[in-house]
């Protein structure tokens, strides 16, 4: 019961979705299942929200180390929830779009969420730079190829790349760094991307088959759970 029913559901749903491609009357079923999928995904997110409240709530209750930051996290979470669910200060009222200009939800997005997210990713620029210093050492042939490709792409997107090779005559324009960067992107890079993409697709297909046939059951966890 605990393991058989889930395996049957997986096989049935997977098979129906595959068959729905070949049988037009079953096509609607495929669309319906996709909507179910979206609805379940929201509940999974609710579960995540519940876990966030539980974990940080526990930290605050036990006055664990740095519990003040947990309180800030929960305050931010509930503030955003209240602003979005009750559409606080929304110029169009409760019937208007949640992201209407002037609403508290949109203000929190523009003033807090957006700058924080952009700064977090911008911070990575420094770590990428320090990682490049360590990675960009031509230790062997493969590392040298990686280094040259990355260097050409980086230089090809900057004014320095344009100025450095502008003297190369028109008939050898491919040797100009910006053109070379474009060629790398459209030829060898594309080939590598395709090889990786096809490899991943074949892996996904075989894994999906294992799931539908009930061979792969690790997603069910153990019986102790």
């Amino acid at each position: 019961m605990k393991r058989k029913i889930p395996v049957i559901i997986t096989s049935l749903v997977g098979t129906v979705l595959i068959l729905s491609v070949f049988f037009p009357p079953a096509e609607r079923m495929g669309e319906d299942f996709s909507i179910f999928f979206d609805i379940i995904a929201v509940f999974a997110f609710f579960l995540g929200g519940g876990n966030l409240v539980r974990i940080h709530g526990n930290k605050i209750y036990k006055k664990a180390r740095d519990w003040g930051f947990s309180a800030v996290t929960l305050a931010g979470f509930f503030l955003m929830l209240a602003a979005g669910l009750f559409k606080i200060a929304n110029p169009g009222g409760i019937a208007a779009d949640v992201t209407a200009q002037g609403s508290l939800f949109q203000m929190l997005y523009d003033w807090i969420f957006n700058p924080l997210g952009a700064s977090m990713y911008a911070l990575l620029a420094f770590y990428v730079a320090s990682a490049s210093y360590r990675a960009f050492r031509a230790k062997n042939k493969e590392a040298t190829i990686l280094l040259i490709a990355a260097f050409i792409i980086l230089l090809g997107r900057t004014p320095l790349g344009v100025y450095a090779t502008a003297w190369i005559p028109e008939q050898f324009s491919l040797m100009q760094i910006p053109n070379l960067a474009i060629w790398i992107m459209t030829a060898p890079n594309l080939a590598g991307q395709r090889a990786i993409m096809i490899g991943i697709a074949l892996g996904v297909i075989s894994m999906s088959l294992r799931l539908i046939l009930g061979v792969e059951r690790t997603y069910l966890g153990t019986d102790n759970e």
Binding site: P6, I9, V13, G14, I18, V21, F33, S34, I35, F36, D38, I39, A41, V42, F43, F45, F46, L47, G49, G50, L52, F69, G76, F78, M80, L81, A83, G84, V98, M107, W111, I112, F113, P115, L116, A118, M120, Y121, A122, L123, A125, V128, A129, A149, A150, L154, W183, I184, A187, P188, N189, A191, R194, A195, I198, G199, I200, L211, Y219, E225
Partner: protein, 214 residues
């Protein structure tokens, strides 16, 4: 109000950047706010898009009552919070796994295998029947050869059922070189995108906030 928003955004931007000095309370404060605010943001967005738009409106306006099955499965997911009957949450999970597997088999095969192979096997010399044989430019001829050979040798590298020795090993070697070029290009692109984000934040600090850049 706009000025207050700019100051608030500057406070959070500098708070995150302060991590470059070392882990500190200002950064932790910003980090905690980001976690809470982003969880709340996605919660609200998914609620209005999926629960209200996809579920509630369709039930009340179009009477699509079969959607209740999806909602029941969703509610079952929450049973994970009640340990004695937590195992029921495996049913919606199985539904998601089955639906993903069913959709991916067809979609991945169509878009990531068939289409990619079709686009790799391009005519080397003349793209259209009836055109002069050498109508294609040497640039595109070489490009098509590199794409076809690179994709094939890249796949040879990923084939581990045969030992990489002899001619097969040679092809695998060319394959790994192609893949290294891809990694280098991706790395270069990642650096550029992060740099442009950093430039964006600096533009905000020195332009919008301090007004030093006009």
């Amino acid at each position: 109000m706009e000025i207050f928003g700019t100051w608030l955004a500057a406070f959070f931007t500098l708070g995150i950047i302060s991590f470059l000095y070392r882990d500190n309370a200002w950064y932790k404060l910003c980090e905690s706010i980001f976690v809470g605010i982003s969880a709340g943001y996605w919660f609200v967005t998914l609620f209005w898009d999926n629960i209200h738009g996809l579920f509630w409106e369709r039930i009340t306006e179009r009477h699509d009552y079969w959607l209740l099955i999806g909602a029941s499965l969703g509610l079952m997911m929450l049973l994970r919070l009640i340990p004695p009957i937590g195992w029921i949450s495996r049913w919606p999970l199985s539904f998601v796994v089955g639906a993903t597997a069913g959709l991916y088999i067809i979609n991945y095969f169509a878009s990531n295998v068939m289409v990619q192979v079709e686009n790799t096997l391009m005519p080397l010399f003349s793209a259209k029947f009836g055109d002069p044989l050498f109508s294609a430019s040497p640039y595109s001829i070489v490009g098509n050869i590199v794409v076809a050979a690179g994709t094939f040798t890249g796949l040879v590298y990923f084939f581990f059922s045969k030992e990489h020795k002899g001619a097969f090993g040679g092809m695998a070697k060319i394959g790994i070189w192609t893949i290294m070029i891809t990694f280098g290009a991706s790395f270069g692109y990642t650096v550029m995108s992060r740099m442009s984000l950093l430039i964006g934040r600096m533009d905000f600090i020195f332009g919008d906030w301090l007004g030093l850049i006009r």
